[in-house]
Structures are given as structure tokens and as C-alpha cells.
Amino acid sequence: MPSDIILQPATLLTLSLCGYVGGAVAGLLFARHAKLANLLSFSAAALSGVSGLFAALVFLASAAAPLRQIELVPPLNPFVQFTARLDALGAFFLAIVSLIGFGLSVYSLGYAKGFLGRKNIGVLGAFFNMLLLATTLVFLADNAFFFLITWEIMALTAYCLVSFEHERDETRKAGVLYFVMSHIGTGCLILGFLLLFQTSGSYGFDTFHSIGGQMSASRRNAAFLLFLVGFGTKAGIVPLHIWLPAAHPVAPSNVSALMSGVLIKTGIYGMTRTFFEFLGTPPNWWGVTVLTIGTISAVLGVLYALMEHDLKRLLAYHSIENIGIILMGLGAALMFLHTGHGLLASLALIAGLYHTINHAAFKALLFLGAGAVLHTTHTRNMEEMGGLAKRMPTTSFFFLIGAVAISALPPLNGFVSEWLTYQSLLQGFGTTESLIRLMFPLGGAMLALTSALAAACFVKAFGITFLAQPRSHHARQAHEAAPTMLIGQAILTAACVFLGLFPTVFLKLFDPLTEQLIGQQISSQLTVVNGLVLSGIAPNGGTVSTLGISLIALCLVPLPLVLWLLFARGSKTRIGATWDCGLKSLTPQMEYTATGFSKPIRMIFKTLFRPRREVQREYDFSPHFARTIRFEAHVEEIFETRIYRPMRIGILRLSRRIRALQAGSIQAYLIYIFVTLLLLLLFAL
């Protein structure tokens, strides 16, 4: 009897929520003695992460389980009920936040020790727990008010965590930018929910179910655009992405991992919930807009990532790229819903959501790797790293797994979700007669370009950071990360490998989700040959089995050994110097640099980047014998310079002109009131 009580999702869920609250309180209470606070708060977060994960998986596995209404706080007035609801979509995202939360908390146990002398670890732990709690509640909120309140708490705690190391000016600026942008988003959300409220009469999410049908077309489109902008700002889609590459790098690494892995997914959760559940069958242009935004975000995200040589900014830009890929899946699903292809819509939706959890796993893993590297080399600039593979073997191995996964290379999870996206795009070509269907193959081509560029970017990131000779003193003295940090990374690597090799096992959990959103259960069609092989929907759709590929690869491994035994038993291997064209010896300065590595791409896409470089040469008597040469290269961030800066200048100029209104003399004020009174009297006559 007790076992099934414990396994009840509701009890597990409440356990996880209380765990987070306990962690936060413990963090604050023991803030003075850092080690204890660190241990308590992060282990509490880890435990609640695990219980949250089990709650979600148990709920999804027992697919037929109905929606569960859990009253968290007694209702104050009829409109604000703090009720949480565990349904399929919420459970899926709950699984993401718990899995990543668990990995990150274990990692933070070791990572937070880095702040021992400088910062207050208790506060970091407390905010960390609060952020996880708020994000979990966002996924469980069942009422627009409760949703917006938790959304706001999440934004605030994230702001506090982003500006945790606020002594640096760069952090403060990024924090403010994040704060302003997330509030613009929340503003749009409030308006959107108000529009829904006007039709449904109450704020509960159950009354919003497919409310789109009863709304007038213009109001429905307005609601769609508001939600797109509101959730898009949080997700970081292209025109609204400028806060992401600023905020993520400055945050402590475990926080930026949490933000990249989970926080931007709340945007995706919001979009899925509103577009698929609330706004009913979409008109065609919704899907087309989301697909286009997704493609643009993907391509631009990866192109700007290639130009970065700050490791964490590079990873932040990649978050934009992967959000783009997720949106391509969602956009395709919306278009299929419009043309009434339920099966294809659920395939595209599964592709999008599967990539969400994949991205959460490998992006968090990469940020943890970057955090470990940052921890020892005290710099984010890749040009000062190098040779870390020998000094930090395990971290570099995990980083390599993450890099392979994010570049969508078989047999890992990035490849599986991109394969599903390709399948949905391919099948999409046949769904309509209009020219819109051209978007699918072109989208596929752009997806291919993105993943190839991502591969190039991560060859650069891994190669320059971990391989060849260390380029700086710190890199030379680098030492392996603490064991807990390695365990944290190991958890996420295991997640990546499992999600990559056994997709069919995981796809069954999607059934209740697609059932709820689109009314289709298609995991049976996706798994062929006793559940080992993944297949596209169409009867003769392509099949792929990452498990099969890896097994055959294992069988082929002895082949080189056999050849070596047959022919080369006598050969020896010697360690020698790298070929240096007769110079005395290769120095680290002669190695290829990150800027050099991305030079061809910069030249190919010069119209987009508009690169500028300045070379200052100081010399005593002849320019040919320079004493010092200073080289500086810039890539123009077009969104920043073309859109956001002119807007800011315009607003400031407008406000300066209006300032004249407050003239300071009492006569002026009296005249204002007098004129208003006269106007109103005339108006009232």
C-alpha cells in the first residue's frame, strides 16, 4: 500500500515543491556558514528534482490518468485561485525542469565552492531553489493570474541570479536589459490573457480550452501576436533575442545552464499551450510566421555563434539557434493543423518538443562544461584556453559528447529530433497545393545549413578550448573539476545518450500529450520492429535506429584491430614533435585561433556581419619593425545597431521634449488645470 501512495504523482509533486521551498529557506537560514548552506540548499534542490522527474514520468506513463486539480492555496477571491493542474503538457515540461534541475544541483554542490570567499553561497542556493520552484509552478499553473504571478517571480529570481556577480559593470547592464525585455514580454502576456478573459469570462485555463472558436478573427489574431511576442521574448526568438547573449554569459554557470536549459523553454511551453490548446484551429499564416521566425532564428543564431570567441556567449547564441529549430517543428505542426493533417501535426509537434528536451539536456551539459573550464581558467575567452583535454580529461569528454549531440550527429539525441523534424518537413511537402509547400523543403535546407554550421562552430569551440597547446598560464595550470561537478555532467550526458539511443521508449510518453493537444496517438506508428527503430509516419517513411547504428559500429570496431594484427604487429608508436617546417619548436601563438577558424565563414557571410578590423602598429623608426601591433576585429550586431539603438535614442529625445511640460512655476500648473476645466465644461454642455 505505501508504495503506490509514494508513487502517486500528486504526492511526489508536493514533495518536490516542498523540497524547493525547504532548500530556499535552508539557503537563507544558514547563509553565514557557506559550506552548510551550499550542501543543504543544493541537495534539497537535487532531491526535489528527482521526485519531480518521477512524478512527471509516472503521470505520463499511466497515460490514461485524468487531469488532476491540486488546490495549493485557498482561494482569496473568486478570480485568483492558486490551483495547480498536472496535465500531459505540464508533466512533460515538469520532467524537463526536474531532470535539468537535478543535474545542475549536483553540479552546483561543487561549483558553488568557487564563490566561497567572495560571494554569499546561501543566497545563491536560495535563489536557485526559488527559480526552480517558480519554473515548476509556471508549468503547473491552472489560472491566468497564478500563471502570471509565477511568471513574474521567475523573471525576478532569474534577474537576481543573473546579476549575482554585480560588481562587474557588464553584469549590471545585462541584468537591466534582461529585466526590461522580460517585462515587455510579460506586458504582452497580460494583454493576451485579458483578451481571452473577455471572451471566456473567467481566468481559469480550463475555460480557455479552444476558446479561439468563439473569438472574432481580429481578436484571435491579436491574441496570437501578443502571445507570440510575449513568449517569444522569453524564448529568445530573433528580433527579441538581444538580452539572451548578454544575460547568459554573465550569470554563474549553473544559473546560465538553468536559464538556457529550462527558462527559455517556458516560452516554448507558453506557445504550445496557447497556440495548440487555447486558440483552436489556426489560420495558415500563423504556422507560416512561426516557421519563418524559427528558420531565421536558427540560421542567424548559429551564424552569430560562429563569430563569438567568448565560450558562454557562443553557447547562448546556440540557444537561439535551437529555439529556432523547435519553432520550425511547432510552425510545421500549426500548418498541418490548418490543413487538417492530424497525424503529421502530432509528428511535427513531437519533433519540436523532443528537441526541447534534447536541447535542455545537451545545452545544460555544455554550459556545465564551460563552467568547469571557466572555474579553472578564470576567463571566458577561448583564445586564452587550449590543451585542457590533457588536464581535464573527463570534463572534455563530457563536453565532446555535448558538442556531438548539439551538432545533430548520430547516434546522439540531437540527430534524432532533427531527423523527426526533417521527416515532418518532408511529408509536409505533399499536404497543400499552394506555393506555401515550398517552405518545407527550403526550411529543411536551412535546417541542414544550421546543423552543419553548428558542427563547424563546435569543432571550433571544442578544438580551440580543449585541444593543442595551452595558450595562457591559467590554461597551463588547469586542473580537473571537483567530483560533484563531474557527477552533474555525467547525469546530463547519460540523459543525452539515453534520449539518443532509445527514442522509441521515450516517444510512448508523448501519447497523452498529443492526445490532449491534437487528439492523435501516434507513438505506435513511430516505432517499428519491436520498438527499436524509429520511422516516419508515411507507410514507406524512412526509418532510422541510432541503437542499431551503434551496435553495428561496435561489431565493426574489431575490424581495424584485425587489420593491425595481420599486417602491423611489429610497428611501434613514438611521441615526437609536431611538424614545424624547421623552426626551433611550435609555440602556442602559432596555433590556429578561434577568430582565424571562423574567418572563412565571416568572409562568406560578409554582407550579414559587415566585419571591421583595425590594426594599430607602434614602431620606433621604420614601420616594418613594429614594436607592438594591436589588432581588433568587430562583427556588427545588426539587430542591436539597426533596431534597438535608434529606438532608444528616439524615446529619450521624446521624453526630453515632454520634460518642458513640468515648468516649475505654479502659474503654469494653474493654467493647465484651468484649461482642462474649461474644456471639460464645454465638453459637458
Binding site: 583535454a389 572534455s396 556531438v404 551538432s407 550527429l409 548520430p410 540527430f415 531527423w419 518532408l426 515550398l438 523543403p441 527550403l442 529543411g444 535546407a445 535546417l447 541542414a448 546543423s451 558542427a455 563547424a456 569543432v459 578544438g463 580551440i464 585541444l467 593543442a468 597547446q469 520492429v529 527503430v533 516516419g536 514507406n540 517513411g541 524512412g542 526509418t543 532510422v544 535506429s545 542499431g548 547504428i549 565493426l556 581495424p560 593491425w564 599486417f567 602491423a568 610497428s571 608508436t573 613514438r574 611521441i575 615526437g576 614533435a577 609536431t578 611538424w579 611550435l586 602559432m590 596555433e591 590556429y592 582565424g596 577558424f597 571562423s598 574567418k599 572563412p600 565563414i601 562568406i604
Partner: protein, 312 residues
């Protein structure tokens, strides 16, 4: 999915690949009225490399020695998924065209890392150029394959081959021709042929693929070379069998297999002849002219896609 099928195809891959690159080298020399190396010279090279001692740079990490195995195995796996002799490739259940592209990309990923590891400028330059150019070639490759897959209705190669193999000679259909042209350009870029990269030289300005192999020696170099030639064979098979599946065996009777094997070798040699012609008549393009060539391939692939339903 039968075991003998896998073994046969692996053997075929291992043996045929060096032959093809040998022929290309030999014919190119003949065209430039040089005697050139023997056609089976690559076999001797590989055997010699296997036997020689290896020198590994002191800066290199374990990735350096892991990369050759990955390149070799991924090329083999990709080869097993491509229908060479029978319409049904041995591993077709485990992956279609997208899996082939993915495996080749995995091989390229580790090849580039191997190039960066020893810390020499040549390797870095080679990896940077290889990754950039292949990134630009990828969309054209995927779009061409999409076009073919759309006409056949699935990305599973055996179904695609079966579809084009049908009675009606789909070979001259404009969509297929343009897709073939696009894929041919991508083949030149991927295998490092003349207009994009010069396979025969060690001059650092002109070599892309060779630069990454500079630091390899002994057994590793053998696997790298062998893997590269297998990759070239896989791409050529893709081109040959998907677009001109004449004589490919549908059932596994001995006679049919023999006929399809000879037809397949003949077609391969024909394609190598075309490659040799292209290589001898063209000079190597400047690095930043290559993207224009590859965008031309992309435009061709888009035209192919358009023509699937415009000129139906």
C-alpha cells in the same frame, strides 16, 4: 538485414574504394601524358602505412588517435546503408539518406578535430576550411536528396532506388537531371576534388583535406586514407545508383547479383572518368570563389525541387 549481405558489402566497400581512387589518379596522369602510379597503387600505400611505425605529436590528446577509427567506421557504416548491388541495402532498416549524411558529417567532425589537435597551423587551416565549405555544401546536398525523396515519397534509399528503377525511364526527367548536377558539384566539394581542393599537393595554401591528415602517420594514416576513399565511393554510389539504377539486382539470385555487380563497377568507372575530365580541364578555384560554386549547386537543387511539380 542479412549477415552475409553485411559482410559481402563491407568486403566490397573495402576492396573497391582504393581501386576507384587508384583509377582516378592513374587516368588523370594519363590525360596529362604522364605514366602516373599504377591503378592498384593505393592498396600498396595502405599496406605500407599499416606496417610503418607511428609518430604522434606530444601536444595531441587522445582525440587525435581516436579520430582515424571514427572516420573509418562512419564511412563503412554509411557505405552499408547505400544500395550498391541490391536495391535493399544491408543496413537500410537502421537508416536512410539522412543517416548517411549524418554519419559522413560525424566523420568530418572528428577529422577536423584530429586536424586541430597537434596544434600546427596547417591542421587548423585545413579544419577551418573543411568545416566552412562543407557547411555551405550541406543545404544543396539535403535539398537535392529532398527532391529525389519527394518524388519517391520517402528518405529510405532502397525505396528511392526502387522508385527510379521502375519501368518508365525517369532518368531524363528534368528534376532528376538538375538534382544529379547539384549532387555532382557537392561530390567534388566533399571528396576534395580539383575545383574545390587539390588532393595531390601538400602546398598549404591549396590543400584542405590533405592538411588535416598532415600529422598522421602509420596505421592512423592508413585508416584515414582508406576512410576517405570509402566516403568517396559511398557518395559516388549514391550518385550512380539513385539516379541511374540500370541493372541493379532486385532479387538475390546469383546471376542477377553478377550482372548488377558488373553494371555497378562499369557505372563507377564511367563516373570516375567524368571526374577525371572535370579535374584535368579545371583549375583550382580561389577559396572564396568556392561558395559561389556551391550556391550555384544550391540554386540547381532548388530548380530541381521546383521542377518536380512545375514540369510534371
Amino acid at each position: 538485414m542479412s549477415l552475409p549481405g553485411i559482410l559481402l558489402q563491407t568486403l566490397l566497400l573495402l576492396l573497391l574504394a582504393p581501386l576507384v581512387s587508384g583509377c582516378i589518379k592513374n587516368w588523370k596522369a594519363k590525360l596529362q601524358n604522364r605514366r602516373g602510379p599504377r591503378v592498384w597503387q593505393p592498396y600498396f600505400d595502405i599496406l605500407k602505412f599499416l606496417r610503418k611505425d607511428m609518430i604522434i605529436s606530444e601536444h595531441a590528446s587522445r582525440v587525435f588517435s581516436f579520430a582515424p577509427h571514427v572516420v573509418f567506421l562512419t564511412s563503412l557504416l554509411a557505405g552499408l546503408m547505400v544500395p550498391m548491388v541490391t536495391t535493399q541495402a544491408p543496413l537500410s532498416l537502421f537508416g536512410g539518406m539522412l543517416a548517411v549524411i549524418g554519419l559522413l558529417a560525424l566523420g568530418r567532425f572528428f577529422l577536423a578535430l584530429g586536424g586541430l589537435d597537434p596544434g600546427s597551423a596547417f591542421g587548423g587551416m585545413g579544419s577551418s576550411r573543411e568545416m566552412s565549405l562543407s557547411a555551405i555544401a550541406e543545404p544543396a546536398l539535403v535539398l537535392a536528396i529532398f527532391t529525389v525523396a519527394i518524388t519517391a515519397g520517402s528518405t529510405d534509399l532502397s525505396r528511392v532506388v526502387a522508385a527510379t528503377h521502375g519501368p518508365t525511364l525517369k532518368l531524363l526527367n528534368p528534376a532528376h537531371l538538375m538534382a544529379f548536377a547539384a549532387l555532382f558539384i557537392v561530390l567534388l566539394a566533399e571528396t576534395g576534388r580539383i575545383p574545390v581542393d587539390n588532393p595531390a599537393t601538400h602546398l598549404e595554401l591549396t590543400m584542405i583535406h590533405e592538411a588535416m591528415l598532415l600529422e598522421y602517420s602509420g596505421r592512423h594514416l592508413a585508416f584515414m586514407e582508406w576512410g576517405a576513399s570509402i566516403k568517396q565511393l559511398v557518395l559516388m554510389t549514391l550518385l550512380v545508383n539513385v539516379f541511374f539504377p540500370i541493372g541493379i539486382a532486385t532479387d538475390s539470385s546469383l546471376a542477377a547479383l553478377a550482372v548488377s555487380l558488373s553494371a555497378y563497377v562499369l557505372k563507377l568507372l564511367l563516373l570516375s572518368a567524368i571526374i577525371v575530365l572535370v579535374e584535368t580541364t579545371n583549375a583550382k578555384l580561389r577559396l572564396f570563389r568556392v561558395p559561389d560554386l556551391l550556391s550555384a549547386a544550391f540554386v540547381l537543387a532548388t530548380l530541381a525541387l521546383l521542377s518536380t511539380f512545375l514540369f510534371q
